[in-house]
């Protein structure tokens, strides 16, 4: 090789190196991911933005895999009342809730806070981005309605639990937002729900959206919001609107309410779906009802992984009339061991278990009922009672009562209607009826807090456990207080 040619090669190498375009060489182009700047452009993007809000209601793919209605939230609302006891070892967060010894470091409350705000943030993105997408206006308004309904649902849970908290409604928010007044939060909830009620459809076809938020759901939630605010007439109006839709009704037999075949049926106003769709999606999307509530003893009947972690108070069980259909459907008290015959156990909750459809228990594909028609009837009764319309209250509470006496074939006289009650007695009857009807539906703490009866009722079911006035709000999680100095802890914590 000649020196010249070597020099030439070297010179060429250096030149191509130094003078070729470095700019392009250093550009980033992630082929497998989409950046935010080229997303939120199409109708499909809009739908998926709203779908991701729903996706936080059931199970999620990180951490504990628990979304808002997965378990902690409704378990906590049952434990922090006269409804549930904790039987799950190694869960101090639940022990503390059940005994009203929880502090700002309670991990269950932190999870509830985290999941609600996550859902709110996802809803805010959809609400901010969808208006800018060129798409069918009807669908656009529907999706906006769904997003605003879900945001209102989250804020309504949060404002009742924690009081004055940050109100975030934009896509981009300050890192450490200040709290808003509860009035401001309620105003936002009502504005969101009014929009949702005006823009959401009556219903969706099965398999094509059935399960998404409807105007019925928006009105039912409005009724609950007004009831909580003691705006009785508005509560009654909203509830009556739902009743007058004539789309909803009670299943004749209480045993049918929680059948898989009844999911999003006539009694369901808004539910959260669980289940892995036969394996199409990840298994932790399945519900926890059976794992968590069914007794361990059922294993002799071939039921798998039933842990009996949360159990009803004996007091609750004893509130029912013996023939109340709801007692037999809601609780299991007998185990049939093929080897040794039947034995009686303390009551456990079995109502979410469709034994014929899911004989071995474990993962559940049942829906969690957020709002169901029986609730609307009882809300209507409650609002009217407060308005002095005790007769209307009696009429509507007895609609729920009537079903309770149906044993599958006959209406039994041993579960009588309420009759001749005065306003105070009716108020007590309604709060009691709600406890019998909505066991483990995440309602009880809210009902006791709304009716200011937490301090009075809890010790009846849990002797020695004495809630105080501070327990009408939960403490804001310490992590949040630590990271956001503009927040103030609720009184007493």
């Amino acid at each position: 090789m000649k020196y010249n040619s070597i020099h030439l090669i070297i010179a060429a190498t250096l030149c191509t190196g130094i003078f070729s375009s470095c700019k392009k060489f250093l550009e980033e182009d992630p082929k497998s991911q989409v950046t935010i700047t080229n997303y939120y452009k199409t109708e499909a993007d809009a739908t998926s933005a709203v779908n991701s809000i729903y996706a936080y209601l059931n199970s999620i793919s990180t951490g504990t895999t628990a979304g808002v209605y997965h378990s902690t939230f409704w378990v906590a609302m049952g434990l922090a009342s006269d409804e549930l006891l904790n039987n799950q070892v190694g869960t101090p967060q639940f022990d503390q809730l059940a005994t009203f010894t929880y502090t700002s470091q309670n991990s269950g409350l932190e999870e509830i806070w985290a999941m609600h705000y996550k859902t709110i943030i996802i809803a805010n993105i959809a609400i901010a981005r969808i208006p800018g997408i060129a798409m069918n206006e009807l669908l656009k308004n529907r999706l906006m309605g769904e997003a605003r309904f879900l945001r209102a649902l989250m804020y309504f849970n949060m404002v009742r639990m924690f009081g004055s908290i940050p109100l975030l409604v934009e896509e981009n928010n300050p890192l450490t937002p200040p709290p808003a007044t509860t009035d401001a939060i309620y105003a936002q909830i009502i504005s969101d729900l009014d929009f949702a009620a005006a823009n959401l459809p009556d219903s969706y076809d099965p398999g094509n959206g059935r399960g998404r938020a409807t105007n019925g759901a928006a009105n039912a939630l409005l009724a609950k919001v007004y009831l909580t605010q003691k705006q009785w007439d508005k509560a009654a109006t909203a509830a009556k609107k739902v009743i007058d839709f004539n789309r909803y009704g009670l299943w004749d037999d209480f045993a049918d309410v929680f059948k898989l075949s009844s999911r999003n049926g006539k009694e369901a106003i808004f539910s959260v779906g669980f289940g892995d769709a036969g394996g199409a999606i990840i298994f932790w999307e399945a519900g926890q009802f059976q794992v968590r509530l069914l007794p361990l003893e059922l294993s002799v009947e071939g039921v798998k992984n039933s842990q009996g972690w949360q159990i009803p108070t004996e007091y609750l069980y004893n509130q029912y009339d013996a023939d109340d259909r709801r007692r037999a459907v809601t609780f299991i008290t007998e185990i049939n061991d093929p080897a040794t015959g039947s034995k009686t156990i303390r009551p456990y909750i079995q109502k979410y278990w469709d034994r014929a459809a899911e004989p071995t228990g474990n993962e559940s594909s049942n829906d969690f009922p957020v709002l169901r028609y029986a609730d609307v009837l009882l809300m209507y009764a409650e609002a009217n009672n407060e308005l002095g319309q005790t007769a209307i209250a009696e009429e509507y509470i007895n609609k729920v009562r009537k079903r309770a006496r149906f044993n599958g074939t006959d209406y039994l006289p041993t579960v009588p209607d309420y009759a001749g009650l005065n306003k105070d007695q009716m108020r007590d009857a309604i709060i009691k009826e709600r406890s019998l009807e909505f066991v483990a539906e995440g309602q009880r703490w809210f009902d006791l807090a709304r009716t200011n009866t937490l301090i009075e009722k809890v010790p009846l079911a849990k002797p020695g456990v004495t809630p105080q006035s501070k327990n009408y709000l939960f403490p804001i999680p310490q992590r949040e207080i630590d990271l956001n100095n503009s927040l103030e802890q609720n009184t007493g914590y």
Binding site: I18, F25, E28, I60, T101, I121, N484
Partner: protein, 1040 residues
């Protein structure tokens, strides 16, 4: 080869002939001829070594290519002086036999030793920066799977933590402290000039259970000639944005011109768990369970605890004595124009936990040829294949890893239960959710197969003797396949009904480097060495991951994922980054006394946003060879004295790509139901909280050093003081949940490290009995000097980040003993809920509950009582090696340790939890507080659980200082004559023991445990890791 085997014994044979037949003849003359061979301690012949007779400078000779010599010496007693550059000079007395087999040991203090620096080499005497060298002999002492493990205790300023005892697992290396928080802290690894992928995440395929394999485990430690560690800015600035954490330069063995050598090395060892924990046996545990139930007004479970005896030793069932073996065959050689070195090796290690192992096949070829007078070409090709099985240790989802499960499982239960599917006892029956660790280890398979090829070719052209150009192109390509399968009868798979995953990652990085090197001396006073270059590097990988649930048939495992009833969506991803760099370095030496170095590198990286892509990293250094000054010439004791100072700016770009982009991804999914009809929906959402104000982090480092050699290099000392300041630290920080995220990357502030590295080597005795010592000492102090957070950041409920404290500061409650009476408990500050007026009678503090200090003095124990409890950072670390040679016997003793660091023993949350849900430490359980046996250390048993569960306090924070007998090796070398009779040039046999004993107060498996591996901020936490092992081995190495 053939030539060599004949040639070598020939020289020796002639020596023998003399011995046998000619001895008497020579003895009568006035002079006699002696013969012999000079070689290194590892058996390599040393050509050109000088042999002289002491006191008679005229009688001198040099060894030939094969290390052989002959010399005619006067009659009577004589003493030979044998010397060779870079080796310890030896004096050898007349042995009466006139045949010598002389071994010289390397003297690292020798100033003419050439060390590898970035983009070149330098004599040790010419260094201005701080560079530590570790030679092959030192690396060989301890049997290691991976070269990073071999660095432990070998160099000052280099802290190596063996995170796990899993074969081939990652270590964590800190060179001069923790200078970054989020971006990596691991050094840059350069193998023969190739900047390799050393980020475990880049190689991972997502299917491995348990700790990740070290990316360096694919390199056969037996191929390594030397390792240089660049520590200060002067040394590392040539690597610019990747230099802030230090640089590890690895040089593999090259051929030498001269005779060919064939060598074979092998060892066989047995590993065992160094330290099993003493747990309660069945009888003791049953008694604890009953007591816990009684204290909570519940019914006892076990009728007659003493009858239960010892029960199951779950640790014993999970652990085993595991063999390891290594075989390596290599040959090397060359002539004036060509040099080659070729090796092949097989390494097979079983893990001490059932069903874990590591196998490596490695091959390497290094070849270099002078093609023309001015042009040299060379190539390196190395291929390795690792086949490793892992088990899930550390924390796990659904159920904990096997080690934690073995510690906590009810000892009353047996391992096997033939009445259930799979034949194993299914789960712990005492409440704590634990799967059977034996079942999980044996039945949950997880396999990694990693193939890696490292190739590099170069051309070097010398324009003149002063100026040369080198261009090289290298490729580091890998394929990693990770498969796992859990059969349907395990607790872990109860929800999934059997699960399998298969992940594949393929990737590569290529590097093109072009450098011009110039060196010249002017007027005999001015010496200039300069290098300038331009490099391009690109990395790309793509990953494919499939998984599935619900396997009705367990037989085909992950080999047939299609057999699953519930296959899940596959996922794949691609990522890449690229860099363009310009580098330059000038060394200028005046009068061989004053040394100046200026270095700079410009790096352009794709990882940063437009406008921030380029960074400039300069450094400067000055060294003064005081010993060359005239006034030092009379100070004979000082062989060398050099003072050094350097300062520079370095970067860190070890963040994943695409951080500056806001990405949207598929995330949410769920179902809507309408009666029996199911509709699946999916959603997309932003994947992270994007901080648009992110800046890059830089480190400025100052180094002041001294190199001192005394008494003809018998004592050599290197000391360095350094200060490293890192600015605009990136940290994945907790943020308010109102953002929708738990954490995001924030530039949270600045951090400072300063410290001292000391290295002392002494040659204590020479002659027949040679004793050398090497001691290194590292001290580092770390401090967060600024943090942009108004409130404390507390990680894992135990580690504090706050202005003025160091990384790894433990923060929690002070445990103050046990309440001895109910009255004491009622009258003391207690946790909220434990007060006597608590609405829950079961949680009220009573005699036997833990007492915590009311630091805030407000009469109750709450978050305000948390305080600083100690640090996970050692006050200092050290290594101490002594080697003794007597005739053919060598003994080396290597001690290594760490002082002043604490460990959060998270295992104690459970192992000191006397609810009866799980097994506990025997000492603690037996000595738990009872009214008959009140103590002040352990609380009472209580089935309902105390409210202090999960509270981080000094009750579970332990002193993790340790001194470890890391290795003792005793070896025997056959004399050359005896070896040659076997047809060998060298034969060495040895026995060695590693991790023989650890002196520590730490109660867990190992004071080095580091559950979160290479995490920067989550340090000093021990949670169910793979235990360290003790290794006993036998080895042999032979050369022909």
């Amino acid at each position: 080869m053939k030539l060599a085997t004949i040639k070598m014994p020939a020289a020796l044979l002639s020596a023998f002939c003399c011995l046998l037949f000619c001895n008497g003849l020579f003895a009568q003359n006035n002079t006699k001829t002696i013969r012999g061979v000079v070689a290194s301690t590892s058996g390599e012949p040393l050509p050109g070594a000088s042999i002289a007779v002491k006191g008679n400078a005229a009688i001198i000779t040099k060894t030939a290519q094969d290390g052989a010599f002959s010399l005619t010496v006067p009659g009577g007693k004589y003493v030979l002086v044998v010397s060779y550059s870079g080796y310890v000079t030896r004096e050898i007395a007349d042995n009466g036999m006139n045949a010598f087999d002389i071994r010289l040991s390397e003297n690292p203090a020798e100033l003419s030793t050439v060390v590898v620096i970035g983009y070149g080499t330098a004599r040790k005497s010419d260094l201005t920066g701080s560079v530590a060298s570790v030679k092959a002999d030192e690396l060989k002492a301890v049997p290691v799977t991976s070269l990073d493990q071999a660095l432990q205790g070998r160099a000052a300023g280099v802290q190596v933590t063996q995170n796990s005892g899993k074969p081939g697992a990652e270590t964590s290396i800190r060179i001069r402290g923790t200078s970054s928080i989020n971006a990596g802290n691991e050094p840059l690894y350069v193998i023969d000039g190739m900047l390799v992928s050393s980020d475990g995440g880049d190689l991972s395929a997502g299917g491995t259970r348990g700790p990740r394999l070290s990316p360096l485990s694919s390199i056969n430690p037996g191929d390594i000639e030397s390792i240089e560690i660049l520590k200060d800015a002067s040394a590392t600035a040539i690597y610019g944005s990747r230099g802030a954490n230090g640089v590890v330069l690895i040089t593999t063995k090259k051929g030498k011109s001269g005779k060919g050598t064939l060598s074979f090395e092998t060892y066989y060892g047995v590993q065992s768990v160094a330290n099993k924990l003493q747990l309660m046996n069945a009888a003791e545990f049953a008694d604890l369970v009953n007591d816990a139930k009684l204290n909570a007004n519940q019914t006892p479970i076990y009728v007659n605890p003493p009858n239960l005896g010892k029960g199951t030793d779950w640790q014993g069932e999970l652990f085993r004595n595991a063999p390891m073996a290594n075989y390596q065959l290599s040959f090397s050689g060359g002539d004036d124009k060509t040099k080659y070195a070729i090796s092949g090796s097989y390494f097979d290690q079983k893990g001490v936990i059932l069903n874990s192992d590591f196998k490596r096949y490695a091959f390497r070829t290094n070849i270099e040829r002078k093609v023309f007078d001015n042009l040299t070409a060379g190539a390196t090709v190395a291929y390795s294949r690792i086949n490793s099985k892992g088990v899930l240790t550390n924390a796990g989802q659904i159920v904990p890893g096997v080690v934690t499960s073995a510690l906590l499982f009810n000892p009353v239960q047996p391992v096997y239960d033939s009445t259930v599917d799979g034949g194993y006892t299914f789960e712990n029956d005492r409440g704590k959710v634990l799967g059977n660790p034996v079942a999980e280890a044996k039945e949950y398979t997880s396999t990694t197969i990693l193939s890696r090829i490292l190739g590099n070719v170069f051309l070097r052209y010398n324009f003149t003797s002063q100026l040369s150009f080198k261009t090289s192109f290298g490729l580091d390509a890998f394929t990693n396949e990770e498969g796992s399968f859990g059969p349907n009868f395990l607790k872990r798979t109860q929800a999934s009904h059997g699960e399998a995953s298969l992940g594949k990652t393929t990737g590569y990085t290529w590097l093109n480097e072009n450098t011009l090197t110039y060196s010249n001396t002017f007027n005999k006073r001015h010496t200039v060495d300069a290098v300038a270059g331009y490099t391009l590097q690109q990395f790309a990988n793509d990953k494919l991951f499939v998984y599935a649930f619900d396997f009705p048939d367990n037989r085909t495992g992950y080999h047939n994922i299609g057999a699953a009833l519930k296959p899940q969506k596959p996922s794949n991803s691609e990522s890449s980054w690229s860099m363009v760099s310009y580098l330059a370095r000038v060394n200028y030496t005046l009068d061989n006394k004053y040394l100046f170095t200026l270095t700079g590198r410009v790096d352009g990286s794709s990882k940063f946003a437009e406008g921030n892509k380029y960074g400039f990293f300069p450094s400067g250094a000055f060294a003064w060879r005081v010993s060359k000054e005239n006034f030092m010439q009379q100070v004979h004791a000082v062989s060398d004295l050099k003072l050094r100072a350097s300062y520079g700016v370095l970067g860190n770009q070890a963040i994943p790509p695409y951080q500056s982009l806001a990405l949207v991804g598929p995330y949410g999914e769920g179902t809507f139901h309408a009666g029996s009809q199911t509709e699946v929906y999916t959603g997309q959402e932003p994947l992270s909280y994007v901080n648009t104000k992110l800046k890059w982090e830089t480190t400025r480092q100052l180094d002041l050093g001294i190199d001192l050699s005394l008494f003809n290099n018998r004592i050599s000392f290197t000391g360095d003081y350094y200060q490293k300041k890192t600015f605009d630290l990136l940290l994945s920080s907790p943020i308010p949940l109102t953002t929708g995220f738990y954490t995001t990357l924030l530039n949270i502030g600045n951090i400072e490290n300063h410290g001292v590295d000391l290295d002392l080597r002494t040659l204590n005795t020479t002659g027949q009995f040679e004793w050398t010592s090497a001691f290194n000492f590292s001290l580092n102090r770390n401090k967060i000097t600024q943090i942009n957070s108004e409130t404390d950041i507390i990680l894992e409920n135990a580690l504090l980040m706050r202005n003025g404290v160091s990384i790894g500061t433990f923060y929690g409650y002070i445990f103050d003993g046990i309440f001895q009476t109910d009255a004491e408990a009622a009258g003391s500050p207690v946790l909220v809920g434990q007060e006597a007026s608590s609405s829950n009678p079961a949680s009220i503090a009573k005699a036997g509950d833990r007492k915590y200090r009311d630091v805030s003095k407000d009469g109750k124990i709450d978050v305000n009582d948390r305080t600083i409890l100690g640090s996970a950072m050692p006050k200092f670390t050290y290594g101490f090696t002594n080697t003794f040679s007597f005739r053919n016997i060598d003994l080396s003793v290597f001690l290594q340790g760490s002082y002043g660091n604490k460990m959060a023993n998270f295992n104690s949350y459970d192992l000191l939890n006397f609810t009866g849900q799980n097994n506990v430490l025997a000492d603690a359980g037996v000595n738990r507080w009872t009214s008959e046996n009140p103590g002040n250390k352990y609380p009472r048993a209580l089935a309902a659980g105390s409210l202090d569960q999960g509270i981080f306090s000094t009750a579970i924070l332990e002193d993790a200082s340790y001194l470890r007998i890391k290795n003792i090796t005793l070896s025997y070398r056959l004399s050359s004559s005896a070896a040659s009779r076997l047809g060998m040039s060298n034969l060495r046999l040895y026995v060695s023991g590693s991790n023989l004993w650890t002196f520590t107060k730490y109660s867990g498996y190992d004071p080095e445990a580091n559950t979160y591996g290479q995490s920067t901020t989550l340090v000093g936490i021990d949670l169910g890791g793979y235990p360290q092992t003790r290794i006993l081995q036998l080895g042999l190495s032979a050369s022909f």
